[in-house]
Amino acid sequence: MDGGRLSIRHWGWSMNDLTRLANSLMALDDKLVSCMKCGFCQAFCPVFDETGEEGDVTRGKIALVENLAHLVIQDPEAVYERLSRCLLCGGCNFSCPAGAPTMEIFLEARAIVVSYLGLSPIKKAIFRTLLPNPRLFSTLMKLSSPFQGLFIKKDNSPQNTACVPMFKAFIGERHIPMLSKKTLSAKVGTRDTPAGKSGLKVAFFPGCMGDKIYTDMAEACLKVFEHHGVGVYMPDNQACCGIPALTSGDLKSFGKLSAYNLDLFAQGKFDYIVTPCSSCTATIKEHWQNAEDLTSAQRAFARTLGEKAMDINAFLVDVLKVTPPEGAGQGKIKVTYHESCHLMKSLRVSKQPKDIIKMNKDYQLVPMKEADHCCGCGGTFTLTQPELSAKIGQRKRDNIVASGAEVVAMGCPACMMQISDMLARNHDSVKVKHTIEIYADSLS
């Protein structure tokens, strides 16, 4: 990455530009000052764990943002580079003794710095053209799915991944998940069913990965809703929740994606909006309402929607009162559970997914060391910081294998992708499943 960094002179920056950037960052001053520099975040940062560098831990990043805001440092690219070496796992936000809003600081600082430095062309193309255009996105996927056999090599791993020799330069040694032959939206289309015996109706937001990659998992969710007599509103032209744009500091695209989805869901009537992806849930719950360029009606609706947003595990356990029977979890198949960051640290959902696993009597839940340690995916982090991502992922893989489980379950498709990759690279036989798949398997 370093080689591609241009110094400020090459960007043709003037002191004037820098002062404007610094002034914009001063909007964060109240948040920045809440960091008391105690350094306790060192105990909770997966990136710092690997590198031991102050610039990789929250305190160090906040110090740099502060220094940029006060023009103590005049190298915004160096600050941005440090800011991008963050998984946004929320571990520091969750544990900060001073309650510093570290996630807000990182997201806002990235956006401000990106608005001055500009977005990389590839990110711009994806965020501004592909993601806000569900039809185009699906068409592209539809076109590429039948041909994936031509350039990607299925590796016959138990994780059902593939490697892509042709794109080695871009994705490295990664074992990527196979695309579904048909996306969920193509298979199921728009669904609008009334509430059944539960008396409840949910909007279902499968997320990009649920729609295009882990389609079986998304179908498992629909099966579970049906089993519990839950009505479903699922328009077939949902756009990405926007988190990749948000975390990359592209607030413009994030605003467009939020507005598009808000208008779409405003057309349905439902009690909750449920997703099988903790990152999507967190985005709908916390971020849509703060997106830029929303009309006041959209913003008001986003707040209502935020209150209705739920992770599917939490919905089943907390709302539908799904409870594992006494002495559950003694089956033959050993399963271990990975605590996804957004699920545990942002949404504080931890017990419910384990209850959902216990609903299948064939499984036995075994503990994993450091279950709440990040898997190293971090959304676009895995693409921009492949080496760090793999190091953090390897640690997760080692803990999974050491647990002795045959299956590792989790509540986040991004973690599923990363963990499948790490297991496939190590030629492990452990299968990767979403908690809902395990539960759905137990339903006839």
Binding site: V33, S34, M36, G52, N67, R82, P97
Partner: protein
């Protein structure tokens, strides 16, 4: 900033990836946890094995570059803030091996970058106990604990870091390895150098290895919480517990202001009008613990406690400790800047100190909330403010001056566990004497004639 040629010389010792010279990297090692002006060092060097320390010191000494050794950078007196813009920060985070945990002879040998809490956990998993528990132990390093003589909650019964250092290996200004102490319980071999190095704040030598004493863990413990109408009666209870010949492993207090900030934050139903809260834990053999708990409960009631809660199980114990556990988070959230001092007074002087602090807060128009280790007189007056408010900050500086003057009037000491560093230097002569300062400088001069080891800290190297 480090010249390219010097950077190359450091790279030859530790490898290119372990020398940091960019502006951003250097800025990240300009501060620690102390509210004090940062100073950007000339470069940062991270040795990956202890043998590299000798050549690093030799090079710095040859070039006249000051050195500041840094672990987790959680120092609360500015001990890891560089002194000059030429300073080389020597980062110990990669020297993090636990070399031995000896279950027969009860010691552990570790490198300076080993992190305290995980080390203590590993020792515990072998059925042994390393008692010092500084508040930052989840991230702090043993090298830092030794350099600062860190304390913690268990100080009263178990002592502080100094009581657990059996021996050390350090690199001297000449780059030579110096071995001191031993792994034997008794050692009368030569000068007792390690006790002098403990608490020397990186001003005498660079630590490369520490031999730590371990003890068998207590088999049982019991926690109690007591509320008092005022600090006076709580303090009486503390003295009465000791007079009754019970030495609790922890004996903590929260003052009226802290209780209220905690209640604001966690809403656990603490009485807003309580003057003080004591948290007492006794540990040891189960029968002894039962006996001691009965004595402590009686003393607490006799001394006028309005409410005593004795934890019946682990869950209740956790609840009892909740108020203390969240004290720092509660105070830190109340205002943008939270400055925590560690002035320490003889136990009997705690009520006078608390009353004095209340007066200072009123006179100087600042907010002070105090908690701390009642058993050993180690107070943590927390000053809650916003350092961006220049007028308020000026009042805070006056209040800090008052606070140290008061502590010294009461025959106390400036620092129980955070060290002197940069932040408390100006009061040191007042506590000791001109002679002490000069004596310390001569001592220092013998270890470090060029004055390059963390030169500005404690007494300064010159003057």
């Amino acid at each position: 900033m480090l010249s390219d040629s010097l950077a190359k010389e450091f790279e030859a010792i530790v490898g290119k990836e372990n020398v940091f010279t960019s502006e951003a990297d250097r800025q990240n090692y300009a501060y620690d946890s102390c509210v004090w002006t940062p100073r950007i060092p000339g470069g940062v060097v991270r040795p990956t094995n202890t043998e590299q320390l000798g050549p690093i010191i030799n090079l710095c000494y040859k070039e006249g570059l000051p050195m500041t050794v840094r672990g987790a950078g959680t120092n609360l007196s500015g001990g890891t803030i560089p002194d000059t813009t030429d300073t080389i920060v020597i980062l110990t985070t990669a020297l993090n091996r636990i070399l031995e945990i000896n279950e027969e002879d009860l010691y552990a040998i570790v490198e300076p970058g080993v992190i305290t809490a995980p080390m203590a956990a590993k020792i515990a998993s072998k059925g042994l106990f390393y008692p010092p528990d500084p508040g930052s132990m989840s991230v702090s390093t043993i090298g830092g604990n030794v350099a600062e003589n860190s304390g913690g909650l268990r100080g009263l019964k178990y002592g502080t870091t100094k009581d657990y250092v059996m021996g050390m290996e350090v690199y001297a200004n000449t780059g030579d390895l110096v071995r001191c102490g031993s792994r034997c319980v008794k050692c009368a071999t030569g000068y007792a150098i390690s006790p002098l190095l403990v608490g020397s704040e990186g001003t005498l030598a660079v630590t490369s290895q520490v031999t730590l004493k371990l003890v068998p863990p207590p088999k049982a413990s019991k926690a109690m919480m007591a509320l008092f109408p005022d600090m006076q009666s709580a303090s009486k209870a503390v003295a009465a517990i000791i007079s009754a010949h019970v030495v609790p492993c922890t004996l903590e207090f929260l003052d009226h202001a802290t209780i209220n900030y905690v209640e604001d934050y966690v809403k656990i139903g603490l009485p807003r009008d309580a003057g003080a809260m004591l948290l007492v834990e006794v540990d040891g053999h189960p029968a002894q613990v039962e006996d001691d708990a009965v004595v402590v409960e009686k003393v607490l009631k006799d001394c006028g406690s309005t409410e005593v809660v004795v934890a019946k199980d682990a869950a209740q114990k956790k609840n009892i400790w909740e108020a203390r556990r969240v004290a720092i988070p509660a105070l830190a959230r109340a205002k943008p800047t939270f400055m925590m001092e560690d002035v320490t007074v003889p136990r009997s002087k705690i009520p006078a100190m608390i009353a004095g602090l209340e007066k200072i807060a009123k006179d100087r128009n600042v907010t002070i909330a105090t908690f701390g280790h009642a058993g050993d007189g180690n107070l943590h007056p927390g000053i809650l403010c916003d350092k961006r408010d220049k007028q308020e900050w000026a009042r805070v500086e006056l209040a800090v001056d008052d606070l140290f003057n008061l502590g010294l009037e009461l025959k106390g000491t400036l620092s129980g566990e955070h060290g002197i560093g940069l932040a408390k230097k100006q009061w040191l002569e007042q506590e000791t004497s001109r002679g002490s300062i000069m004596f310390s400088r001569r001592l220092r001069n013998a270890f470090d004639p060029k004055g390059l080891f963390n030169p500005e800290k404690i007494v300064g190297a010159r003057g």
